[in-house]
Amino acid sequence: MRQVSVAYGQSRVVHDLDLSVIEGEITTLLGANGAGKTTVLRAISNMHVRVSGEIRFSGQRIDGWQTEDIVRLGIGHVPEGRGTITQLTVEENLTLGACTRGDRNSVAGDLERVYSYFPRLKERRRQQSGTLSGGEQQMLAIGRALMLKPKFLLLDEPSFGLAPLVVREIFGILRRINMEDAVSILLVEQNASLALDLARDVYLLETGRVVLNGPTSIVKNNASVRRAYLGY
């Protein structure tokens, strides 16, 4: 993303942002409530925002594209609030993830893989998604995004409202996905410490501007930066 500004209606929320995610790596975007992190993800997917500036994916400009077309390029977005379609069953939600893919034959195989990541989903495959717990819905949302066979995954606060044990499970899966399937990840998080453990690069956002960015190793070890910006 280069010089990207994002607005809702008349109010600009993100200003002149430059952000890149290295292919095959995990990048995390941190910041306080209202800093504009979700907005950045929505800008990439072009959902309900007005964007000015350049957004490129694998060298191709995608700013201004329809959400559906961006997704079909291989960008999976797991939004805040998870976006599971509550009236559909677990299995229907997952199958939906694969519905726009050309290779119908491998769908069943991919479904089994997702179930192997999230066995609890397999137990509840015929249940209506609305009846799942928060953690299970988050797994479902991630699973559905995986069914897209994405090259790039956008995650918006996957830890929100979940018990620490569940969060650790999910983050473990994210690491596996990144390593086994070479999926690049842009992770928006409030839980800074967990995110910093997982990611290779970090961007810190404050009121719509990047105030800090660099490899997480440096940020983690720099106590003054940590205390000043991340509060611990």
Partner: protein
Amino acid sequence: MMDAFLHQFLSGLANGSIYASIGLALVMIFQSTHHINFAQGEQAMFSAYVALTLIKAGFPYWAAFVLALGFAFVSGMAIERLIIRRFNRAPVLTVVIVFLGLLFIINSLAGWLFTYNVQTFPSPFPPGLGNRFLAAHEIGMIAVTLVMLLLIFLFFRYTSLGLMMRAAAYNPDASRLVGIRVSHMLALGWGVAGAIGAVAAIMAAPIVYMEPNMMGGVLLYGFAAALLGGINNPWGAAVGGFLVGVIENLAGAYVVGTELKLSVALIIIVVVLVTSPAGLFGRPIVTRV
């Protein structure tokens, strides 16, 4: 005495099959757009006229039937793409009058192209099929409607496209995030609804006779059926339709004559809604504060 009642009841079911179809079409469009398509009846009527024209031109009944359905499907999609889409962000009431405007247009065009003369419409069901309770065509109506409902159910439940259309209706944003072209699904939904309406009109035509205003009362009953079943529940609308048909007939036979049966039936429905505001099968209305 029992015979007469049974006859009224079953006859009511036959009429109800028409209301069920229209109710289903209305709910389908409502689920994806949150609007009631007040022009649904006119679209259906026009498609029935297309069928009649084909039959008069020599086409066998069922061929005309299928072609008319195709016409309804395509025209439904066209209406959505060309007209309704423009009013995506318009206030609710404005969209309502757009539908009314559409109603006028289609009705008037039908009168102009096919004349206002009342015409008869053939029934494909041999008279021998009937028994002492139901005429042959009435049995046929119920059968065709049930078959159609079954096919629709199977389509939405078990096909990939059906799943995508359901998803797009339930949650357009989440659907976009899995790559579904929501606007295409919307247009398809209108096409399917149009086809369902056409089936209803073609089935009703032999009984109510063809004329441009034939679907007015039917639309009203279909609307009532949709609300009775819970406006978000397609199968509730179908059940509601059969129920409305029976209520109408019984009201006409036992309470008031045919003069007032439309009013009485509607009043009964409204009373039900006042006591059970989400409809018989609907989810209770949750208001965000």
